[in-house]
Amino acid sequence: MRYLPLTGADRRRMLDRIGVSRVEELFEAIPPEARRSQPLDLPGPLAEPELSAHMRRLAAENRHADELISFLGAGAYDRVVPAAVRHAVARSEFYTAYTPYQPEVSQGVLQAIYEFQSMVCLLTGMDVANASMYDASTALAEAAAMSCGATGRGRVLVAETVHPEYRRVAATYLAHQDRELVTVPMKDGRLDRHRLEGLLADDAAALLVQQPNFFGILEETDGLADLVHARGALLVVAADPVSLGVLRPPAQYGADVAVGDVQPLGNSLSFGGPYAGYFAVREALVRRMPGRITGATHDEEGRRGFVLTLQTREQHIRRERATSNICTNNALNALAATVYLATAGPEGLAEVAGRSARLAHAAQARLCGLPGVRLAWPQPFFFEFTLKLPRPAGPVVHALLQDGLLAGLSLGRFQAAWDRLLLVSVTEARTLEDIERLVESLRRILAAA
């Protein structure tokens, strides 16, 4: 077998050295009832050419974003990935390494993570960031749990305008900790400030909001932190990292915790994962942060070097009192984000964000020129927007697929009342021609009804 070096001769020599005659003797601790005699019922083995043919057939059963013009977003974005990013993550010294427990031979990963942490801080304006979480949804859930720990409270508020799946994940996490997640309803596609005030009792640990929100709309953040802080709660903001190329950083409007997903920074769509979450906090919260953190230090000769640090928060040492159970994180995706941001630079990231938003506004204007199509809520948005269609969005999406278009996300999957809503995402990978195709196809389909 191509991945297994031991030959029959090797095995015999090794058994001799061990002093047993058959490999089965090494397994004698296993009680017979727990021992398997017949082979597992699995396909294979396949030689490399057959394996390759099978995997290619399977991949070909999917229609992908090179074939379809995609306006699907909602947390996962078809953005341009520079070749330099793929080059870096294809370096096998990076991808076949373990967590950097031996820093002297892991400076590559450690320095890259230190750079990642720094870049997250620059984007969000926060003081400290960790070495990555699994994704945005779990980062948000951890932020909610951390807020409870920091405030000693058990009730977390979340805006209805936060991604429904993120809310679900936070709810699952909190429910098992005997904590409560309370939804603050929206009004006109944004957090209802009035309802928030009513729900913000003195037992609230945090408010979770998303900027831009799930519907693509920009939440009004002025005074929000003051309101939250006045009741002793923390403000947790989930922010798309690309948008931070031009949008105000969460720290500036008072966020205590900023989280998000770095998928848009150089990570492929991959059917939803692996991506990576970022997690950044104000200085005061650093020892409550979940996950790994890299810090700079010096070696015996005074040279700068990097190590995993503040590990007393972690499960290896603290066990059931750890700040979180997260151990393996998504370092390679964080590396991709780091190389992406180094490639983009300040101007590049601003241009990616700005182009997306500009194209989105051009698309929205054209789409809302179609009969019966309008914005679900007339609010400022960024690079995603929610349309209200004259009929259910699901069948429209399927009809547009015939024209090679992924028109967006029909929101009826989350709530029946949203069944005419279509969430459209426009990235810098789209062109005006793509938008024209969408407009014309939609025009034809709506007219045909």
């Binding site: 699907l72 031996q102 991604h163 994940v169 031009v246 066990r319 995706n333 999406v397």
Partner: protein, 492 residues
């Protein structure tokens, strides 16, 4: 040579990313986005050309040890070879360029892959259904504990005491208690017995009406298969608890002993260990869990179902604990594990475990003279030795580890499990040759000679690494966790 931070490279105005002009017909940003939402200046990211970016990260990569460059016997981590062709599969546009919300008819290949992988993992586990959502082993643990909680809640009888306690052996991975804590459980620790297994007497005293479940790795972190596993399972089940199998050590038992057959109700697998997906310098991993029939209703959503020849994602499962992650899990990692199982087949997987165990026992046999063997039994895929005797030369496990770096080897896990003094936890994996194992033994023997001759040499090792021994205490005492732009906090 050292490598500066990316922020210390580059110069204002350099660019590695450029764009075609957008053209007329696209209004400026400020037409659509009110100024109050905009930041004053772009974030203070570095500014570099593409040659600078590529050189920086290529050079950084060379400052990293990896499976592709050397032997990595890090106990409990299963640092086996990762087939190169898997990286190509993952990059196929049909896998890498599909969106999690695409209409199901456009992602039938992806759903088929998930559906089949679920079944194959269940077959390996000896259980009936699985969820592929968990992002890593610890995430699988957390999910499994949620399932235990949901199960007990559904079966609770009024007046019963709450089942709020999880039993965990003292040799367990730190994630086990941490996950139990995250899931709102109290943890009761069970000590090891003289043979390195779980102390049955203590277990008998510990199980009871408040026992929600027990978490166990088998073989455990000592690399020993717990001979009493059936009795353990019986005790816990009789008390009404469930058994959770931490699959971190599953590389020892593929096709040989199935956790379901041992009596476990829940199993997580680390796809990035057992099923040969690369660890990425810290992740991504993937920690699917398989469960017995009684737990199926509680599995997180979505789950892939097959109706006739069509695959779909099902969210409508009323007893489900809900969602533990957005979208469908680490699909890219699943692709690699799927390809691995297909490449190996049933006989191949069994051979994996046999060879992993053979390599470990061979290495153990060859290292007996240099170390103390705390539990003298055949090990499974890994083993723990103690460097206690080296103390007479003033040398500790850490010194041995650091000196191994100079010999070109990644050291074993040290000081874990906590139950062994000066522990070295060694897992060679099945993808290493006996020549490599012999060279590793030679290196340790040479280091032992050094310890006898000049222990101080070891205290200051390593010497030939990109940096020398690093001051971890300083890092924790004066945390420097990020670069800061000159003149303060940048320009938000």
């Amino acid at each position: 040579p050292s490598e500066p931070l990316i922020f210390e490279r580059g110069s204002g105005g350099r660019r590695a990313m450029d764009f075609a002009p957008l053209g007329a017909g696209v209004p400026p940003l400020t037409d659509g986005v009110p100024a109050r939402f905009l930041r004053n200046a772009p974030p203070d990211l570095p500014e570099l050309s593409e040659p600078e970016v590529v050189r920086h990260y290529t050079r950084l990569s060379q400052r990293n040890f990896s499976v592709d460059t050397g032997f990595y016997p890090l106990g409990s981590c299963t640092m086996k070879y990762n087939p190169k062709i898997h990286e190509e599969f993952v990059a196929l546009p049909g896998f890498s360029r599909i969106h999690p919300y695409q209409p199901e008819e456009t992602v039938q290949g992806a759903l088929r892959l998930m559906w089949e992988l679920e079944r194959w993992l269940c077959e390996v586990a000896g259980l009936s259904r699985a969820t592929l959502q968990p992002a890593a082993g610890a995430h699988g643990e957390l999910t499994g504990l949620m399932l235990i909680k949901a199960y007990h809640k559904a079966h609770a009888v009024a007046g019963d005491p709450p089942r709020d306690e999880i039993l965990i052996p003292d040799s367990a991975h730190g994630t086990n208690p941490a996950s139990a804590g995250m899931a709102g459980y109290r943890v009761a620790q069970i000590p090891s017995d003289a043979r390195g297994g779980m102390d049955l007497e203590v277990l008998r005293r510990s199980v009871g009406a408040r026992t929600a479940g027990l978490m166990l790795t088998n073989p455990n972190t000592l690399g020993l298969y717990d001979e009493n596993i059936l009795e353990i399972a019986r005790l816990v089940h009789e008390a009404g608890g469930l058994l959770y199998y931490d699959g971190a050590n599953a590389n020892a038992i593929l096709g040989i002993s199935r956790p379901g057959d041992m009596g476990f109700d829940i199993v997580h697998f680390n796809l990035h260990k057992t099923f040969s997906t690369p660890h990425g310098g810290g992740g991504p991993g993937s920690g699917p869990i398989a469960v017995s029939q009684v737990l199926e209703p509680f599995l997180p959503v979505p789950i892939v179902e097959k109706t006739e020849d069509r695959f779909q994602l099902v969210y409508d499962r009323p007893k489900s604990i809900g969602q533990v992650r957005a979208f469908h899990g680490h699909f890219g990692v699943m692709v690699r594990a799927y390809a691995y199982i297909l490449a190996m087949g049933a006989e191949g997987l069994r051979q994996v475990s046999e060879d992993a165990v053979l390599n470990a026992n061979y290495l153990l046999a060859r290292l007996r003279d240099l170390f103390e063997v705390p539990y003298d039994r055949p090990c499974m895929h890994e083993f723990v030795v103690s460097a206690r005797p080296w103390k007479e030369h003033g040398v500790r496990a850490l010194d041995i580890a650091k000196r191994l770096l100079d010999y070109g080897f990644h050291p074993p896990t040290v000081y874990f499990p906590l139950v062994v003094e000066e522990a070295l936890m060694i897992e060679p994996t099945e993808t290493e040759t006996p020549e490599t194992l012999d060279a590793f033994v030679d290196a340790l023997a040479a280091i032992h000679a050094e310890a006898e001759a000049n222990a101080d040499l070891l205290h200051h090792a390593p010497y030939h690494t990109p940096v020398r021994r690093l001051d971890e205490a300083e890092a924790a005492r004066h945390p420097n966790l990020r670069w800061r732009p000159e003149g303060g906090e940048g320009r938000p």
